[in-house]
């Protein structure tokens, strides 16, 4: 009996070594056969989209592509993507300006910040620039439409979809609707019962209550109930006046705003042009936030200077024509000059004072923020739909990162509005008479990007083939309950310059096989 163990051990070692040799040959092997080589790829996915990546791999295997899926934490994956070590990967990118300026441009312009596909087409670059900085709307639109056609043809991604953003509220909440920019403006919302409204945010934490010192949407949701900006948006993305009464654009690089003269800060001080100038200069200064730079500089575009014309007029001068300026301006909230100079950025973050509909009471950034109605409020933008009733007295924003907890808390009556309901939990809420489920068009593009700089995806035929091989309609129905919508490129229908006539790649496995054969790969018959 004794000899058996060495034999067993040797066998094991041999098996292991063979396994290592075979398995260790890298992630992309191409086996050459009589009629070409098999295309062998690895799809790298984030955990949330594994099912989707698996489904895509399934479609690819059907036509004879050897596809495998691996899962990574996003920031880890991102670094290896940027190092050029990955082949095809899930990615998503949100747009806040309703313009490709912060979506297609960073994603697809050569070497831009979000260009994970290493896509580079000088013609597209020129068109994107023309689209985002052109003088006339027509010229911009035309440029964007042309860019879409080229991008579609070049297929640097497996073009994907955008999702509905699903939110829900108790039926006690009146005149509330989800905004495309995820703002929850509580000034215009009323309650049929009670005087406190509790909002379940999707986040873990609010970063700060200083409007010049953060870069995420949830923080903005809270901040914009405390502070107002010169302009704001309607729920479907149109820019309308808020603290500004009106504006003119006398030259492409100059904007002049007339301010309201009935606006007070929560500390009783009247808002004037000085506060507006101060707010912007604070973001532009390299040491504006208690000696540190503001992370919101990029949201000012090519803004060069802000000057006071008189107490209620301000002039903005840009270094170049920049049509997205008003859309970006929505994201800067006005702070009181005297107060901030007195207490500093830290003081402002701890005891925020704005011109918004609610003033700060108490809170902890990683727990909840409690606000109460500001009775000196000027009434907000005249262009937003009003509830016609008195706004609620008290507002609580609660960080509730777990989606099923948000849903449960809404059903249990503990919160009134919740952000981001997952697709699979929406039917349950819809079936409940105590709850209204509402959707806004999402502003985030989901897709899978190819590494177009390397084999095999440096070949446009291979990229197109993969696009033809995936049955997106099935994926979107099965995995996202039909609450996600196909995109033909990386442009959103809600954004400027979208071409509605450009059809997405159809599901056409035959065409996919043909293209792969052409590119020299073996496919299934």
């Amino acid at each position: 009996m004794r000899f058996r163990y060495p034999v067993l051990l040797t066998t094991l070692v041999v098996i292991l070594m063979v396994g290592l040799l075979v398995g260790g040959c890298g992630n992309s092997t191409e086996q050459t056969g009589a009629d070409g080589k098999t295309l062998s790829i690895v799809i790298d996915s984030i955990p949330d989209r594994k099912a989707e990546a698996d489904a895509i791999a399934g479609y690819l295997r059907e036509i004879g592509v050897d596809a495998e899926v691996r899962v990574w934490e996003w920031n880890t994956l991102r670094e290896s993507i940027l190092a050029g070590e990955r082949q095809v990967y899930t990615s998503d990118w949100g747009s806040a300006t309703f313009d490709p300026y912060d979506l297609a441009v960073p994603k697809l312009k050569t070497d831009d910040r979000g260009n994970f596909s290493f896509y580079s087409n000088s013609e597209v670059d020129a068109l994107l620039m023309q689209g985002s900085t052109g003088f006339t709307e027509e010229a911009r639109y035309e440029a964007y439409v042309q860019a879409q056609q080229l991008i579609h043809e070049d297929a640097p991604w497996i073009f994907g979809y955008y999702k509905d953003s699903i939110e829900a509220a108790s039926i006690k909440v009146q005149n509330w609707e989800p905004s495309m920019d995820t703002r929850i403006n509580l000034h215009n919302v009323a309650l049929t019962e009670g005087d406190t409204i509790v909002v379940g945010l999707r986040s873990d934490k609010i970063l700060t209550l200083d409007p010049a010192n953060y870069r995420d949407r949830e923080t903005e949701t809270v901040i914009r109930n405390i502070y107002d900006g010169l302009v704001t948006r309607t729920p479907d993305g149109e820019v309308v006046p808020e603290l500004a009464k009106s504006w003119t654009n006398p030259e492409p690089t100059v904007y002049e705003f007339v301010l309201r003269d009935d606006v007070y800060f929560h500390n009783g001080q009247k808002m004037t042009a000085d506060d507006v100038v101060f707010t912007f200069e604070r973001i532009m200064a390299p040491d504006g936030i208690d000696g540190m730079p503001s992370p919101r500089l990029g949201l000012l575009g090519p803004l060069e200077s802000v000057e006071k014309i008189d107490d209620y007029q301000v002039r903005f001068t840009l270094s170049e024509s920049f049509p997205v300026f008003l859309q970006l301006l929505v994201h800067t909230q006005i702070v009181p000059k005297d107060y901030v100079e007195e207490v500093g950025a830290k003081g402002l973050a701890e005891n925020p004072v704005g011109t918004g509909p609610y003033k700060y009471v108490s809170g902890r950034l990683d727990d909840q923020i409690v606000l109460e109605r500001f009775d000196g409020y000027y009434g907000g933008s005249p262009d937003l739909k009003k509830s016609g009733k008195e706004p609620v007295k008290k507002v609580i924003f609660k960080n509730m990162p777990e989606p099923s907890t948000r849903v449960s808390a809404l059903l249990a009556g503990e919160v009134h509005i919740i952000q981001m309901v997952p697709e699979d939990l929406a039917p349950r809420l819809e079936a409940d008479p105590r709850v209204n489920v509402m959707t806004a068009e999402g502003t985030r593009v989901y897709g899978l990007e190819f590494n177009t700089a390397k084999e095999p995806f440096d070949d446009v035929r291979v990229r197109q083939a993969i696009n033809y091989a995936v049955n997106w309609d099935e994926i979107l129905t099965e995995l996202y309950q039909g609450r996600a919508h196909r995109l033909s490129t990386a442009f959103l229908p809600s954004g400027f310059g979208y071409d509605p006539d450009l059809e997405p790649y159809s599901y056409n496995p035959e065409k996919a096989k043909e293209l792969l054969r052409e590119a020299g790969y073996r496919v299934n018959d």
Binding site: G94, T208, L297, L299, D367, N399, S404, T405, S408, A412
Partner: protein, 335 residues
């Protein structure tokens, strides 16, 4: 003698903590991902803007000098600034810690209140159907994932029966002046009965979820050590003196049977404080665990470093306290 031993142990934690600090520092920086890039997300940002921020955080300095200034900071009691919150790590941790401590204490109390009687009962009624059922439950308690248990409890007690709150620490209509940040304690200190009731109600579900595992362990430990103790001569003697059985069990046997329980609970304190990320997430409990996970995803190096050092310290201190208690309960054992 014992005092010196305790002092020795306390001093030994200093190099240990330093080692932990260096390890976390190195590991965090080995993680792929750039904090500034993550902070800016997919919003508009230029390379110049990002390098300006990187510089203001000191991230542009070489690795070695970053480590040195971190270690130098620790010696001065300064853990640096959290990238995410742009505030001192110490403040960020201290404001989240009370919620975590309160939850851990609730879990321990619930685990002991349920686990000890269950353990005694199964020991006394050994091999009966009661014993099998309770031990079966205990087994379930060990194997049940907190995430699942928490959601089930929320749906049953919160949504379906409306008996207990599903999330948070206090009803929104209850006012409480915070002193320590531990709400139950604060409400007692301020004599606020309404807040006390509210905070206890909010503790029940997350406390049970977090404590379920410990409860099962306690029940099993109590059962086995109780069985052993009940067979000792002095217990037989107590019975022979004609004492009623419950008195024998509670007065004579229990005290000795509880010694191993202290070890178990003591060792679990660290786990409860550091391992409650999931429970905090499920119950929207604003504690440290949730914050740390978030800090790891955001590559908030200083915050993760500070929190992990705190966790390490908790383990060390809990172990030390257990050892001291142990020698007090059983003088035969030395530190």
């Amino acid at each position: 003698m014992k005092k010196i031993k305790v002092l020795e142990r306390i001093l030994a934690t200093i190099p240990l903590m330093l080692g932990v600090a260096i390890l976390v520092f190195v590991f965090m920086r080995m993680l792929p991902g750039d904090p500034v890039d993550i902070m800016m997300g997919d919003s508009l940002a230029t390379e110049a803007e990002m390098s300006m921020i990187r510089e203001s955080m000191g991230l542009d300095e070489p690795f070695g000098s970053q480590l040195l200034s971190f270690l130098g900071g620790i010696l001065k009691g300064d853990l640096g600034n959290s990238y995410m919150f742009n505030a001192p790590v110490k403040d960020v941790i201290l404001r989240a810690l009370p919620a975590t401590i309160e939850l851990a204490l609730a879990a321990i109390v619930i685990a002991l209140l349920l686990g000890v009687p269950i353990g005694i009962l199964s020991a006394v009624k050994r091999n009966s159907w009661l014993d099998r059922i309770t031990m079966g439950w205990a087994f379930l308690g060990i194997s049940m994932p907190a995430f699942w248990l928490g959601l089930v409890l929320i749906i049953l007690f919160g949504v379906n029966w409306g008996l207990l709150p599903t999330q948070g620490r206090l009803d929104h209509f209850v006012e409480l002046k915070t002193i320590t940040g531990i709400y139950t304690l604060d409400s007692i200190l301020t004599g606020n009965l309404e807040a006390f009731k509210s905070s206890v109600r909010h503790l029940l579900l997350p406390g049970f979820t977090l404590g379920a595992n410990l409860m099962a362990i306690v029940a099993r430990v109590v059962r086995s050590s109780m069985i052993e103790v009940l067979e000792q001569d002095y217990v037989t003697l107590a019975r022979a003196k004609g004492l009623v059985e419950w008195a024998v069990v509670t007065k004579h046997a229990l005290r000795n049977a509880l010694i191993p329980v202290i070890t178990v609970v003591g060792l679990q304190v660290g786990v409860l404080l550091g391992g409650n990320m999931i429970v905090e997430q499920v119950f929207s409990w604003p504690g440290l665990g949730r914050l740390v996970v978030d800090a790891i995803y955001g590559r908030d190096y200083p915050l993760v470093q500070g929190a992990v050092m705190l966790y390490a310290l908790t383990f060390v201190v809990a172990n030390l306290i257990v050892d001291i208690l142990y020698t007090n309960l059983n003088p035969k054992i030395e530190l």
